[in-house]
Symmetry: C2
Subunit: 414 residues, 2 copies
Amino acid sequence: MVTIVKKFGGTSVGDVTRIRNAAKLVSDHIKKTNDKVTVVVSAMAGETNKLIALAKSCVSEPTLRELDVLVSTGEQVTIALMAMALNELGHSAKSFTAQQAHIATDRNFCKAQIQDIDSLNLKAAIDCGIIPVVAGFQGIDADGDITTLGRGGSDITAVAIAAALKADACYIYTDVKGVYSTDPRVSSNARLLPQVCHEEMLELASLGAKVLHPRSVYFAMAYKIPLCVLSTFEPDAGMTWIVKEEELMEKPIVTGITHRTDEAKISVHKLPAESVALSTLFQAMAEENIYIDMITQTGFDGKNTDVSFTVLDEDSTKALEIVKKMVPSLNAQGVECDRNIAKVSVVGIGMRYHSGVAAKVFQALASENITVQMISTSEIKISVIVPRKYWEVAVRTLHDAFYKDNVEISEEAA
Amino acid sequence: MVTIVKKFGGTSVGDVTRIRNAAKLVSDHIKKTNDKVTVVVSAMAGETNKLIALAKSCVSEPTLRELDVLVSTGEQVTIALMAMALNELGHSAKSFTAQQAHIATDRNFCKAQIQDIDSLNLKAAIDCGIIPVVAGFQGIDADGDITTLGRGGSDITAVAIAAALKADACYIYTDVKGVYSTDPRVSSNARLLPQVCHEEMLELASLGAKVLHPRSVYFAMAYKIPLCVLSTFEPDAGMTWIVKEEELMEKPIVTGITHRTDEAKISVHKLPAESVALSTLFQAMAEENIYIDMITQTGFDGKNTDVSFTVLDEDSTKALEIVKKMVPSLNAQGVECDRNIAKVSVVGIGMRYHSGVAAKVFQALASENITVQMISTSEIKISVIVPRKYWEVAVRTLHDAFYKDNVEISEEAA
């Protein structure tokens, strides 16, 4: 008997017609396969933002605990409607709030992390032939308080439930057909990828491909849940499976080109080249919860170096202020912030087995006269910072460069 | 230390400004008295209907269990916002869903009855100086499923919580100043009643005065909770206390005149005067869950009688059909339905000690040429069925007749 989880995101359940459409997809699957299906849903598109706006129109600083009580009603509405729609199609469906599905989280309101799912209730329902419809994005902490997982949390719920049920697969229904080699709006050559491995997906998700939340990929990898991304509106138009590296049928050197344009670069000039200076600098950022992405160090003259790092645009003013105040005590020469940057990354598990990728990246960018301001690499990705105005050109150039003659190697050849 | 419950209805929390206003009322009370206050709230006005309409736009017959999951989000939104508003005023408030407040009900979705409240959680919060803000109208059944109490349920929640907390009083904040001697929109002579006793309030509530749900009055009576009805918008403009009969300071013969215009009269002609015929007739109604209000039997000719009874307008077509089908087997002559009726009632605990009330009712109605079609009496009320078009005239006439020289008797004189 095959057990699967199907998760529908906000646009997939954006109104009652779409909810009925999603219910029909589930129903058709069950009628065809007799699989045991558990459904996870997000709030209807726009509802979460509407509820947050309501709170902010009521008080200036909403209590976080109460914000979660408020926001969690969004998914509660969808589970009820989805269960009704499945019942109307002749199934026996039952909604589960996080409390009823026993989704235990830590106590961090608005950004809680799932700690455990006791699947007893869900399994009992499934064994009775019931389709459980579970509220995504929410949990219950040890005090019995309602928590929410933060944005993208419904994907995490879906994969965590799949793990708890030892499901055979988890399908993430969204408004795109799957994971593309790059943003199709930027490059008409973008290809729908039939398969990516978890490591690639983690890099792609973290780097700005908005299809899946990185933590949900991490869960799928850790609990070995085959994950599939596909479109609710064109479920037969293709899909992307996120699988283990060893299950990949082919390993292109570069799987995808991603970008993000929501970061800024802070550059500190002539910082004394002592490790204490660097640790003081980044400790100060950590204390203010400023997330640091890339860090590069250049121009060592025997005494001082120039240090650049990227932060989220929204944190950049705060970060700049902090560093400015530290410049005298750090004995540095000055600091500046450049918001006109973009990060473009090439990702591919095949890089592990191929050299020359970096050279090809620089070559492609040089052919368009795009200067590279920062570089950061990992085993399976190369990220570069370029002037923001060139980001689309950079993405297209890199995509065409790698997809024109993307060497595909079989597992045996690797 | 005084413990009280304050309940705010849908219009009292109809938008964020009103929620802040209600929070201010609670805050001012606490700052003035240092009382321990628990707040109970309804859904924002209109929300419950909006959610039901959403369900009906999704499926033709919403599953009742899921309808409760859906509808209960209405109060969950309000508890969160109210707790935030109280926190912003410098208090420490915490929202409680029915599940968190341990409000146990039976399994009747959409019309559940409260069976028990384990006030452990609420008391623990109150002991910590926290203001609990509890979702009205909802509960949890033995399976952990969410239930709702049906319309008016938030009043019941408030009184049940007051009973569980052994509170000193329960204040029901609404959009009117209290209980009136009759509908102020019908008679300009209507008076705000400073006190009514539970028995009177039960009759008034059941007979159509929409201020309080009868079950909440029953709870208050059974658990001896002093209940107060007042306006959220003019809290200083008067109020009505619902008290024990022996606590009434004065006992007017007639306390109030009520009406309802949502019933229809079914008349069965020449029914054999055997008790089996009557029991067969009303058993058939009971099986279809048709609520019977008044029953009268007239014109006994030694063999047959005419039987009339009233049902809710919305049930009248079904009731008529059922009786029509039964006419041959019952050996009756025929059946007809009159929807142009209204019920007008005079209620007063003082009737127990005074005769002549019925005579005065008929005299007043006769003076306006209003014919009485049915009569029903209890120890403290007289109800009459009159043509619907005369209901306002009947109410005004009866109100003026009794309030012109309403004999007031002290407890000693009774």
